[in-house]
Subunit: 339 residues, 2 copies
């Protein structure tokens, strides 16, 4: 019997704009062995997340960039194959950070055991994982929506946006969701958003103004670009803007043409006493993660927060699914099923 | 004996860019009489403040614009001439909001009695008034400097900036002051700023980086423009930016040329978890003004916070002194002595 091989996808070149096939390199290497305190994992599911595009670049960001030749990073749901660590036995399913490959060896302290009887294990990559926590922490700690206030969010069918809107509703706020295309708008209505706006249709600024007649008190920013341009004039005095992502800019290769509106943006911050606050969810892990797991697990179990998954089969299709996600082709949490 | 007249300066036209003489109209009207609950005041001192430039325009802002024909607004220190209100007697000195004129009638409830034995009455327009409170509230409530952190402020010899730097020092932080011209730099050194940078000299970005080797944790924004461009790259993760004013933009008549850096600004907010928070001091009056008066009065009495006044004699010179202040020609709090 030949020894099993580990199929991997590595960073071949830093993308210039939208990633293309030659930015990724597929290879096969022997399956590694776990050392003491380590666990060999077989990848079941890989999470596709927008932040990974940032890590492919070498621009200054909140996380160190990948190096050329590195396996593409990403959270994974995996099964223990061989354990060199107490408390992990073959067959157990864990949340891991194996990246785009079939097998990985990881230190046991970085793994979180998953209980399939509580929720489908894929939710650890979405509504009960980093995206759900991003929504929970950013909305509650920074946005702090009050009953009767209006909360707007874009990419609203995505794993972060859909949780933002539904948690806002649970706080007694009005939820305005923005997304691209008819099936996403239908999904937003099904999820209970008060208003659902298609950013692909004409005149988003006027439609947004009509959908938020009392203005916007919290805008959960995860896209930037034209949606932000439409939101900014609608922000009320003392509005809060948790800045979680700027997906519209991730593939940009140069600054947009002028005029320079950065001073105008600062003017809006001043004249309306706005709060813009960038954040990465890990900042809030020590103070909020236990509350998140308790609240969100209950909300999901009770059907108060619903989620959507968009699963693509096959590790080889990860690059195309990733590029599609950056363009919004997915509906819900983008996941690769590997095994 | 002819009845006395009230010399006034009114808004003749909305300035296009820097205000010019024809934007102001001088006139004389009979001195008004106070009704019940009102007080006739003779203006002693007028405060010149950058926000007044904003009120000359009709752009959306945090305060309603002046109308053409209105007396130019401004805080004043005045003496009671005739009182129709209990508790106010002729000769008493009050903080008022009489604007650019020799006499005003104001409702008693808008006046604050001043005690010349506690501090010179002009301090009610500066270090113990709105500018001092702006510094205190913005720095402590939003900036929240911690011991050992670095606080930067521009227009640092102005009534807000000089208080910001000195309060930062009292909190155990390092104070970096930015101002224009040699005599202002000398003043900053005399006030105890750890670093004093002249923004008129070449290569501010490099000098600022050298003056803040551990980065900047709090930037009290009151100017915008080139100073902000130099500060932004130096802001540390989790830095706080109380946005109090953008004097560099007040005379702008159009957006600057491109490229458009507003998306880049949002990217910095995201990647370094920055907080940009616009504010007007009145938001903090209910929660912080009594503490401010107590702390700042003590600090001034003890010499821990020092202040500088730049007094111009004569109401007629208010327009030129105001324009000069917008360009930074003053050293310290700009005040017109009327009577």
């Amino acid at each position: 019997m030949s020894s099993p091989t580990n199929h991997r996808i590595r960073l071949a070149a830093r993308p210039h704009g939208e990633p293309v096939a030659t930015d990724f390199q597929h290879d096969e290497v022997p399956v590694p062995s776990p050392g003491a305190g380590e666990v060999l994992l077989r990848t079941l599911y890989i999470s596709l997340d927008p932040y990974v595009r940032g890590r492919m670049s070498d621009a200054r960001s909140y996380a160190a960039p990948m190096e050329i030749g590195d396996v593409i990073v990403g959270a994974t749901v995996s099964e223990v194959v061989e354990s060199g660590a107490d408390g992990f036995a073959p067959g157990q399913v864990v949340l891991s950070y194996g990246g785009w490959q079939e097998y990985s060896v990881e230190p046991a302290e970085r793994l979180r055991r998953l209980d399939p009887s509580v929720a489908p294990v894929t939710t650890a990559l979405g509504v009960l994982g980093m995206p759900g926590f991003t929504a929970y922490a950013g909305l509650l700690a920074i946005g702090a929506p009050q009953p009767g206030e209006t909360v707007a969010v874009a990419a609203a069918t995505g794993p972060v946006g859909s949780a933002v809107g539904q948690i806002a509703k649970l706080q007694g706020a009005r939820a305005v969701g923005i997304a691209g295309g008819e099936r996403k708008i239908e999904r937003l209505r099904a999820l209970g958003f008060d208003e659902a706006l298609d950013h692909r249709e004409a005149d988003l600024p006027a439609r947004l103004a009509a959908a938020a007649p009392d203005g916007i008190d919290v805008y959960f920013e995860n896209v930037g670009g034209a949606v932000w341009d439409a939101v900014l004039p609608q922000l009320n005095e003392f509005a809060r803007v948790p800045v979680c992502g700027l997906a519209a800019n991730y593939n940009a290769t140069s600054l947009p043409e002028g005029p320079d509106r950065s001073g105008q943006l600062m003017g809006a911050v001043l004249s309306r006493s706005l709060t813009l606050r960038g954040f990465i969810q890990r900042e809030f892990v020590p103070s909020m993660f236990p509350d998140f797991l308790r609240d969100m697990t209950a909300w999901v179990a009770e059907g108060k927060v619903r989620y959507t998954e968009d699963i693509t089969d096959g590790l080889d299709r990860a690059p195309e699914a990733f590029v599609g996600m950056l363009k919004g082709a997915n509906l819900g949490k983008a996941i690769i099923r590997v095994a």
